[in-house]
């Protein structure tokens, strides 16, 4: 799992470095008519993801301590948190209860800022989606007695890696460009 996560980290690293190179060569980064990124909203999504990392590792601790019911409940909460994150990202992109970035003028392919934003957050969102499916599969297996504490630990490595990567995505895609008013 660690080797897989390392290779995955390189793919995210490559995307963030590509964003950095494009950012350095394009002034202004935010093109006229493009919306600001919602840092407050994304901070809430970040908080949700941090909560799921906690519930995930507590699920493993519960499983390791033989508290099976608690472990299953915490895994379910983790999956729910991941799903909420995905709904939040869908809202951010397309809009559900408020206009999304696409509607507001951040269109893929029209600027380096838009393209890197959608590629990086989309790639991360895909990891979250796979993670939610992974958690649900492990949860079902655990309830049926086919999954061990060891497999929950491996799941935790993957899920916390998703959070690990999000720390850098949040900083490099949302926070750092906003210092220059992008």
């Amino acid at each position: 799992m660690w080797i897989f996560l390392l290779s995955d980290a390189f793919s995210f690293g490559a995307l963030l470095i590509a964003e950095g190179i494009l950012y350095a060569g394009h002034k202004p980064w935010r093109q006229p008519g493009e919306p600001e990124l919602g840092i407050g909203f994304t901070a809430v999504l970040t908080f949700i993801l941090l909560c799921t990392s906690l519930t995930n590792v507590l699920a493993w601790a519960a499983a390791a301590g033989g508290r099976r019911k608690q472990a299953a409940q915490l895994l379910a909460i983790t999956a729910l948190g991941g799903a909420v994150f995905l709904v939040g990202q869908f809202q951010e992109w397309f809009g559900i209860w408020a206009p999304g970035l696409l509607h507001e003028g951040l269109v893929f392919g029209q600027s380096p800022r838009a393209s890197t934003f959608f590629v990086i957050t989309g790639y991360h969102g895909l990891h979250v989606l796979i993670g939610v499916a992974y958690i649900l599969a492990i949860l079902v297996g655990y309830v049926r007695g086919r999954v061990t504490e060891r497999q929950i630990e491996l799941l935790g490595l993957y899920w916390c890696f998703v959070d690990f990567v999000w720390v850098f995505v949040f900083s490099f895609v949302y926070l750092l460009p906003s210092l220059s008013g992008a």
């Binding site: 470095i17 350095a24 901070a43 990392s53 590792v57 720390v167 906003s178 210092l179």
Partner: protein
């Protein structure tokens, strides 16, 4: 490295480490992560911090948060030294490349 240590590295499980099953360190790490995220937001929203200092602060905070997640939630602090090095050493390469990129951008900006 001794044979048992190699065995543990292969298994890469911390289930045998009693401290890893305690909840308190995870809750403390969570509180610190939330606090650091709030500091990040404060750095961006305050507007009174010099640009370069804000950039350095945000990168340092992100690195600290990632380290907390890797050490506590991904259990790296309980792993063997060889696994720690296996994970951390390759990550130095993109970090150095990113640093060079920022120095290059800063140099171009100063010209």
């Amino acid at each position: 490295m001794t044979d048992p240590e190699i065995g543990r590295a292969r298994a890469s499980s911390v289930g045998h480490v009693p401290a890893a099953r305690e909840r308190a360190p995870y809750l403390v790490a969570f509180a610190v992560l939330v606090a650091l995220t709030l500091v990040e937001i404060g750095v961006v929203k305050s507007g009174g911090i010099p640009h370069r200092a804000a950039v350095v602060a945000l990168i340092a905070i992100a690195t600290a948060k990632a380290a907390l997640i890797a050490l506590f939630y991904m259990h790296l602090r309980y792993e063997t030294r060889i696994l720690k090095l296996t994970v951390l050493a390759p990550l130095v390469a993109p970090a150095v490349y990113g640093l060079l990129l920022m120095l290059d951008a800063a140099w171009r900006h100063m010209r």
